[in-house]
């Protein structure tokens, strides 16, 4: 029997000839990631278990992106603890403030994660790298500690749910809208424990940025991983970034899927996830009059250069509404620099946006844009749980960069067509 791309990548990282859903396996890890919140626990566990040297200093990646530049003394202590470990271990991929970006934007951009890799990260949005045709999934800190010791991790081989997109996307519809639409259709546990494989003739229209956004949010449907079969767009993306070998995998024609969901995208309009759960999704025409206080454009979901270009196209020669605080966060230093060179930053500043250095900050209610009681934000991030971006009495509406930018100008949730 044939295997899906997910099964194949897992298989190639074990000594097995073939495997099937439900099997418990031990797999070799190509890249193991931690951040300033999750790595400190992993490092402490690693040491407690007698760990001296990580299994491979090229493969353990530590990224201080959540509470950085440090927001207070406690977060500075956590970062210091992680930094000292990274130095002691001589980690190849440790990037500090000034070089660092949001982990899931930085790793693909720098070619640290590549097609065919098996990646684990002590961060739930590690699933982002499935966009490249890698198996990537989030784990906890103790799992990371175990991988740092052994280079291996245990998994239950997931069943695969195939999502087949067909048709042409409407203007202003992006990868964000497609994944919000899916989460709205299947629910936040609609893909629990499963792999989500994206296929269909629409995929060829999706840029790598769109694919990264889609794979980023499969965890919001409960999935273990999301994955795209590599194509010419993937090949072009990695060719200029990779510094080590990589492999392209495909699903076999006779592989087994647990479910197949067909979605014609031509009828989908820009989507908005209402509070307080990412599956509470409506089309932009069904939103009504929702006044807002803040707009955040950024994060590992939508802080890439393509996202900033869309936002700048809408904000050019316009200003954020007087009662709206607009915060724009390029996801990496590379993106920031490119936005500067393309004149996007000037457009943002003229639109009265606060442009921030790369950080997770506002996305998790950490710093750089925390919401007060009763405030409403439109955000291009991926979660809108109660209290996610600040006070438990605040509200978060998830959208694409296009809707976020248009909403900033109009002071209420609105699509760019209204401008």
């Amino acid at each position: 029997m044939g295997m899906t791309i997910t099964e194949k990548i897992l298989c190639r990282h074990t000594g097995l000839k073939e495997l099937h859903p439900g099997m418990l396996i031990n797999a070799r890890v190509d890249i193991a990631l931690g951040n300033d919140i999750t790595a400190p626990i992993a490092i402490a566990e690693f040491r407690k278990a007698g760990g001296l040297k990580v299994f491979d200093r090229d493969k353990v990646v530590l990224i201080p992106d959540h509470f950085t530049p440090n927001k207070d003394i406690d977060s500075a202590q956590q970062c210091k603890f992680m930094r000292e470990f990274a130095r002691e271990q001589g980690l190849t991929h440790y990037y500090d403030v000034g070089e660092v970006g949001i982990e899931h934007a930085l790793l693909p951009e720098q070619g640290i994660v590549l097609p065919g890799d098996l990646v684990i990260g002590a961060d739930s949005h590690t699933c982002t790298y499935g966009a490249l045709g890698a198996f990537a999934t989030g784990v906890g800190s103790t799992d990371l500690a175990a991988v740092m010791m052994t280079g291996e991790v245990w998994f239950k081989v997931p069943e695969t749910m195939k999502i087949v997109f067909s048709g042409k996307m409407k203007k202003w519809v992006s990868g964000k809208d497609l994944i919000l639409y899916i989460i709205g259709s299947i629910g936040v546990d609609g893909a629990l424990y499963k792999a989500m494989e994206f296929a269909g003739d629409t995929i060829g229209q999706l840029s790598m940025a769109d694919r990264l956004t889609i794979a980023n949010m499969v965890i919001e449907a409960g999935a273990k991983n999301g994955i795209f079969i590599p194509d010419d767009i993937t090949k072009a993306y990695v060719a200029e970034r990779a510094k080590r070998p990589y492999s392209f995998y495909n699903s076999d024609p006779d592989c087994q899927y647990a479910d197949v969901i067909n979605i014609n995208v031509s009828g989908i309009e820009p989507q908005v996830a209402f509070p307080h759960i990412p599956s509470n999704v409506r089309g932009i025409s069904q939103v009504g009059d929702v006044k807002i206080d803040q707009v955040v454009i950024g994060s590992c979901t939508n802080g890439r250069i393509e996202d900033l270009r869309v936002a700048a196209g809408i904000l050019k020669n316009k200003k954020a509404a007087p009662r709206v605080r607009l915060i724009i966060v390029p996801a990496t230093q590379g993106i920031y620099k490119q936005a500067l060179q393309e004149g996007l930053i000037e457009i943002f500043i003229d639109a009265h946006a606060a442009v921030s250095t790369p950080t997770c900050g506002a996305c998790l209610g950490g710093h750089m844009g925390v919401l007060a009681d009763g405030e409403r934000a439109v955000s291009t991030t991926n979660r809108n749980f109660i209290g996610r971006m600040g006070h438990t009495g605040s509200e978060v509406y998830l959208t694409s960069p296009a809707v976020a930018a248009a909403s900033a100008v109009l002071g209420r949730i609105a699509g760019p067509e209204e401008l």
Partner: protein, 164 residues
Amino acid sequence: MKFRGKVWKFGNNVDTDAIIAARYLVSSDPAFLAAHCMEDADPDFMKKISAGDIIVAGENFGCGSSREHAPIAIKAAGISCVVAKSFARIFYRNAFNIGLPIFESRDLWDAVSDGQEIEVDGDNGTIRILNSNSGPLRIEPIPPFMQQLVSDGGLMKHIAKKKA
């Protein structure tokens, strides 16, 4: 593994931000995290519970962020175990890895009310609701590998044992 305690009920899709909010992730000290356990779901939770109590939840408990601070906070709060209809997968791993006992039961949530006492018998795979006339409820069996993790005292001890 037998646990006996008072039930605290929560609904579906309790996310890890509700279990421990991001503003407290500046520390990984279990006692500090426990002090804020479930705060954004129920601000009085820590005042109400006593050691050994049991959280009973609906579908997809622990969804969202991978933060291991969530099961750590629950364990350090003195909760003896969590019984849910289903768990989000990273939370599920984390709980086993750190040694927080968790069980899946399709039926308990609808059968039990807040404050009732229950007994969870992990060995027999049953739950009894005390002082009620409902019969024993079945819990989903735990895969042998996961049982091994629990009996070894968590993932790191399991690895150490394998190496030795």
